[in-house]
Symmetry: none
Subunit: 401 residues, 2 copies
């Protein structure tokens, strides 16, 4: 029995509201020995005040030392064990460009590549072809026609694009065609089970037609297919937690991830301010609100420490609008760390700040990496955050008599 099995049994009806603003990549590192992290450097008077009222902890996205991608990072936050629930690469890529996979579809991540005259791969990424060139090329593949199959082709970035194969009886157990090295021929897609044979056949036909269409291209004269994936089977929020959940996000990837767990997307915000507008406008209609703030992650990825500090301060400035709504439970956290120092996602635990009328206050005086590890929530796997949220919202019955 895992935590979600337990919550499915124990959750109760209620009118309490939970708000979870997620600053993507919130956790950081000092740039220099003895220095402060981005969050510790930022002036966050509103968050510090909440830290004094509430309880802090450090969430471990997957397991100690494991750096998550955006998929596992958010699944963990949403309470789905990221080791149990895996979103296939194709499905995640489709989600990232705003495609909401349906049960009769299989998504594939495709890479343009360059074949030499011998038919062997000379460049696995087609010379990192720029998006301006690759986008129209991907779109030209929309003319490919396969009997009994509908196709969706969507450009992503540089050499990457997504193909979604739609039809009846399409399994997703199909092998990658990327041989993972230059000097080799692309592999054929091979079905790993009977249910996936039709998918493999469609992929072969797609590759054949694409080869003819692309053969005269100087860089992108072929493609490889990876990560065949159907819609992941995630039990919806309403069933597991008994919550009507709303997601407020600007980027397609996060809207998509939220939709996969059964949240409704509200608003069409393009900034944090508009996200809070959407929160206010939809306050009466939901029990749980996931509010995604992207720019703490992207500034971290850019290695821009000062700009990440500034983005954290922007988040802090919005806190009074959140507290004015008087949520029963307010949780400020991130999906993982993105220290400017490492310019990428990292495994470091993420500060969590939880405020409710029944949280047990700790000694923390500031919202920071240094303090959160001594906070009352301790260090815990992110997948337990939702049970803490529900408990603090008084939405759980007792386990056992």
């Amino acid at each position: 029995m895992d935590i979600q099995d337990l919550l499915r049994q124990l959750h109760t009806e209620g009118t309490s509201k939970i708000v979870m603003p997620v600053a993507d990549g919130l956790g950081g590192l000092p740039l220099e020995p003895g220095g402060k992290t981005e969050l510790e450097t930022a002036s966050v008077p509103n968050l510090d005040k909440l830290a004094q009222q509430g309880v802090q902890g450090a969430s471990i996205p997957v397991l100690p030392g494991i750096t998550p991608g955006s998929g596992p990072g958010h699944l963990g936050l949403f309470g789905y064990d990221p080791l149990k629930y895996v979103i296939g690469r194709g499905a995640l890529e489709a989600t990232g460009v705003g495609i909401m996979l349906q049960p009769n579809e299989v998504a594939v991540r495709c890479n343009f590549c360059t074949l030499g005259a011998d038919g062997k791969i000379a460049d696995r990424r087609a010379g990192r072809i720029p998006t301006e060139e690759s986008g129209p090329l991907a779109i030209s593949l929309r003319d490919i026609s396969i009997p009994g199959i509908e196709l969706v082709v969507e450009p992503v970035k540089e050499h990457r694009f997504v193909v979604v194969v739609r039809g009846e009886g399409l399994g997703d157990n199909v092998s990658d065609t990327d041989p993972q090295a230059t000097g080799r021929r692309p592999l054929d897609p091979v079905a790993g089970d009977e249910a996936s044979e039709k998918t493999a056949e469609a992929a072969i036909e797609f590759l054949n037609q694409a080869r003819r269409r692309l053969k005269d291209q100087p860089k992108a004269n072929f493609l490889t297919m990876r990560g065949f994936a159907a819609k992941p089977d995630l039990p919806p929020y309403q069933d597991v937690y008994g919550l009507r959940a709303a997601a407020i996000a600007s980027y397609p990837m996060y809207k998509g991830l939220a939709r996969l767990v059964g949240m409704e997307i509200v608003g069409q915000a393009t900034s944090l301010e508009e996200e809070i507008d959407a929160l206010e406008q939809n306050w009466e209609n939901y029990d749980f609100f996931f509010v995604h703030f992207k720019y703490t992650d992207s500034t971290g990825e850019d290695g821009n420490f000062d700009m990440k500090v500034k983005r954290i301060e922007e988040l802090d400035a919005m806190i009074p609008r959140l507290t004015a709504l008087k949520p029963d439970v307010l949780i400020v956290t991130g999906d993982h760390s993105t220290p400017a120092y490492v310019k990428s996602h990292s495994w470091h635990p993420v500060p969590v700040l939880l405020v409710s009328d029944r949280c047990r206050p700790d000694s923390c005086q500031e919202f920071s990496e240094r303090q959160c590890v001594c906070g009352g929530l301790g260090q815990f796997e992110a997948k337990y955050l939702m049970s803490l949220a529900l408990a603090n919202a008084d939405r759980l019955g007792k386990y056992g008599a």
Copy 2:
């Protein structure tokens, strides 16, 4: 391999002694923002002194955010994974009134109910009939006779009583008869497997005879049956830990829980003072002593903050008698939190204080919720407390060469 599998292999013989006084519902909450918990408010000079010598931690009874009943709360403390070992409702209710289930018995929790003239349930709790009326009614059902079956009927409180069905070949996979709503007929008990058919037949016969006996009662003219449960199969303390264990408790429920894991009940104490008398008198005969102190929980359930503080101070006053016995390991903790603020069990971690000659001291200066989360034991699931106890008692061999 879980922790108990490991301990079963690693435990060694020894003469060291472990004492574990358990203050039921010990953990608390402040009544007001910025305030102190019950334990932090109490003057506990003896416990604070131990906190300076020993090591503290915060135990999570089941999983983060999960509030345990008394059964799972104690199983966790005793080292039994409360998600793996489940004590059925009938068995727990029987345990609570002092019935020690035997392997050939099935216990059922029964509720008196009121049927309308149409045979449908008008009140699932017989108007919350007072114990003075329901007790004699339950006892009158002892006259029911079923060939090949022995029956035990024991009043509990208000509409509740327990029936134990004794005989050969009685499985406990039988469905509840309570339809969980008024305006419906009680359901028939249905066997979920062949081994439970005899139990279901006995239950049907019991219900038929009870219906005739109760038919003229104004309130309690029938009953429902729930939580059919045989004796839970818990590996005994001696086997898992190599400990001769004694339980000292005033309330039947806790004596029963201790007996289920193979502890012997010593003494007939009705107060904490008498419990310590029993401990002193039996000191030579056991390796492990569970000493249960009920009143920190009941005052919490009553929402009586000041009285809970007082009860904690009573516990503190007894500490010198415990330390005078020079136990090798002394562990002061609770089975869960019962903050007066929420007037019920809660999920909040429970302070744990462990003193031994080989514990690694931490920086804690006081026994309190705020300090324990920064203690040397960290936050841990209660099921790991017994391995820490055995290790500190020098009763565990090395794992692997």
